[in-house]
């Protein structure tokens, strides 16, 4: 099968969607599919949202790559037509991400030889164009939206329009499926694929002490970890405030690991001044990331807008208990194998952190159950098999959704659905 993925960024760029797309594409290539990824030649996240001139970063990418059997074609972003973007906003369309003449042209050409076109995100220009390219070539379209409920760019009509016109919608959790069904997406086009994690490479037993020494912490310091992009939607101020409140009861250090954004660089002085002992660690090699995770006492993902949260699986695989916000897909993913806190409530989060630090046996039991779930249900081969089912769904409707003038005719109007038909 010839699969074309269209996504804004691809590793070495760091992010949940990037990791999911790469994990899936590699697994598809391992199954024998011919996989091409069309993406932008962008590594730094800030470069996705504005086209201000930037100096070189610690990583740069060229026009093509071969990544474990996956052909990656990277395209140069184009200058943003700001006046048009602003005019579109007035009409209620928020164009996310960067436009690229090269990517748009390559998508039109590559869609012709694809058996399935797989779009990533529902709120960015590259996906809207990818849908157009697939329709012109009469190819089935699957989209993975990584839907963030409540985020205005995901909730806008243009995003919903794309989701309704895709032949299949691949979601990462049952909660995300419910969320999209509640927004008028037909159940038979929703396929739950979950996510995978790479096999744990294992870390030496002395890592706990070594990581604390490297971070400049005493050997017995309690370590609360956050791993991920340091972006505004991740609710990091809530985590820092909670850590500061928990630190009044017992000493702890909060370690924030991941690539910074311009927002984070501006916010860091305030976060550090909050009273919590915050250790800021940039994007580090995988070995260092795994070591921090293995040395942590608790992993917290404070964001309320996640479509899954791969980091929970990584933490469980490393034997670390987790805390997530009781919102959307996160509550579904964490379930009974971690603690949940009221989204945006630092007091509740501080209580959850202290509960796990004060009762390590309880946390260890949760992490063991989580690790068992990871082994049982979260391999990339399973994800690839589920996505193959989505392509079959897409192929079965193959362009019919668009040809019929859009699913709006067949599916329930949103107003009716929101009154509880599920």
């Amino acid at each position: 099968m010839n699969v074309l993925h269209v996504i804004q960024r691809y590793p070495p760029a760091i992010g949940g969607a990037e990791a999911w797309c790469a994990g899936l594409a590699r697994a598809q290539a391992a199954r024998g599919d011919a996989v091409t990824v069309l993406t932008l030649a962008v590594v730094d996240e800030d470069a996705l949202w504005d086209d201000a001139p930037r100096g070189p970063e610690p990583a740069a990418v060229g026009p093509v790559d071969l990544d474990a059997g996956v052909r990656v074609r990277r395209c140069a972003p184009s200058a943003t037509p700001h006046a048009v973007v602003r005019a579109a906003e007035r009409l209620g369309v928020r164009i996310g991400g960067r436009c690229s003449v090269e990517l748009f042209g390559r998508a039109l050409a590559a869609a012709r030889s694809a058996d399935a076109v797989h779009l990533h995100h529902c709120n960015v220009a590259s996906s809207w164009w990818g849908l157009l390219a697939a329709r012109r070539a009469r190819r089935p379209v699957a989209v993975t939206p990584y839907f963030h409920p409540g985020d205005p760019t995901f909730e806008q009509r243009a995003a919903r329009w794309l989701l309704r016109r895709a032949d299949a919608v691949v979601v990462l959790s049952a909660a995300e499926a419910d969320c999209l069904a509640a927004r008028g997406i037909a159940r038979h086009r929703l396929v739950v694929a979950t996510t995978g994690v790479p096999p744990s490479a294992g870390v030496p037993p002395a890592v706990r002490t070594r990581v604390r020494a490297a971070l400049g912490l005493p050997p017995d310091a309690a370590l609360v970890a956050y791993l991920g992009r340091k972006a505004p939607e991740k609710d990091l101020p809530v985590l820092v405030e909670a850590a500061a409140r928990a630190a009044r009861t017992r000493p702890l250090a909060l370690v924030l690991v991941g690539p910074a954004t311009a927002w984070y660089r501006r916010a860091l002085p305030d976060l550090v001044a909050s009273g919590a002992r915050v250790v800021d660690v940039p994007a580090v090699p995988d070995a260092a990331k795994r070591a921090v995770l293995a040395a942590a006492d608790v992993l917290v993902q404070p964001s309320r807008r996640e479509s899954f949260g791969i980091v929970f699986l990584e933490a469980w695989a490393s034997g670390v208990p987790v805390i997530g916000a009781a919102a959307g897909a996160i509550a579904d993913v964490v379930g009974e194998d971690g603690l949940l806190f009221a989204p945006g409530d630092p007091d509740d989060l501080a209580r959850a952190i202290l509960a796990l630090l004060d009762d390590p046996a309880r946390g260890a039991a949760m992490a063991r159950r989580g690790a068992e779930r990871v082994r049982r249900a979260h391999g990339w081969d399973r994800v690839a098999a589920a996505v193959a089912r989505a392509y079959a769904v897409a192929g079965a409707s193959g362009g019919a959704v668009a040809a019929a003038g859009g699913p709006g005719r067949r599916e329930q109007p949103l107003e009716r659905r929101e009154h509880g038909v599920r």
Partner: protein, 157 residues
């Protein structure tokens, strides 16, 4: 007056969008032949002068036959003389070649096949940047335009 100015911006942008759409059509018709290219140039979050720093370089050959290439690397760090190295390699058919540049940002500047095992935990310690270093890679292959990538990092003591 302001409305008029905004209207002018909008018209100018719309003209640009129309031109861009024409370029999209041209791009769609342009052949996309296999090529030999620099795929990645990556370093750690920072470099430390006086210790070995590893940089990953990936060269990709999309052709159905092996291709010889010449890879040139040049680096400069604040206040130090420029460093350079070059190597000739044959990239197997439809494959990627991963190489590693090792430098101490003083004198050593070697292209090797594999990075020595290093202490990844070193990147966890908070460090203060004292300058910047810059690394460029240029790839030359027959019948291909030279390709270049550049990265920069904070330099710590």
């Amino acid at each position: 007056m302001r409305t008029l100015r905004r209207l002018r911006w909008l018209l100018a942008d719309l003209t640009r969008v129309v031109r861009a759409l024409a370029r999209v059509r041209a791009e769609a018709r342009r052949p996309d032949p296999p090529r030999v290219a620099l795929a990645r140039l990556e370093g750690g979050p920072w470099a430390e002068r006086g210790r070995p720093n590893a940089y990953r370089v990936r060269v990709v050959n999309e052709h159905a036959a092996p291709r010889p290439v010449v890879l040139r690397l040049a680096g400069d760090a604040d206040g130090a003389p420029p460093l350079e190295t070059r190597g000739a390699h044959v990239i197997p058919a439809a494959a990627a070649l991963d190489l590693v540049l090792l430098t101490d940002w003083r004198a050593r500047f070697d292209l090797v096949a594999e990075a020595p095992s290093d202490d990844a935990l070193a990147f966890l310690a908070p460090r203060e940047a004292t300058g910047r270093c810059r690394l460029s890679a240029v790839l030359e292959a027959e019948r291909e335009a030279p390709a270049a990538l550049t990265i920069a990092q904070p330099l710590v003591r």
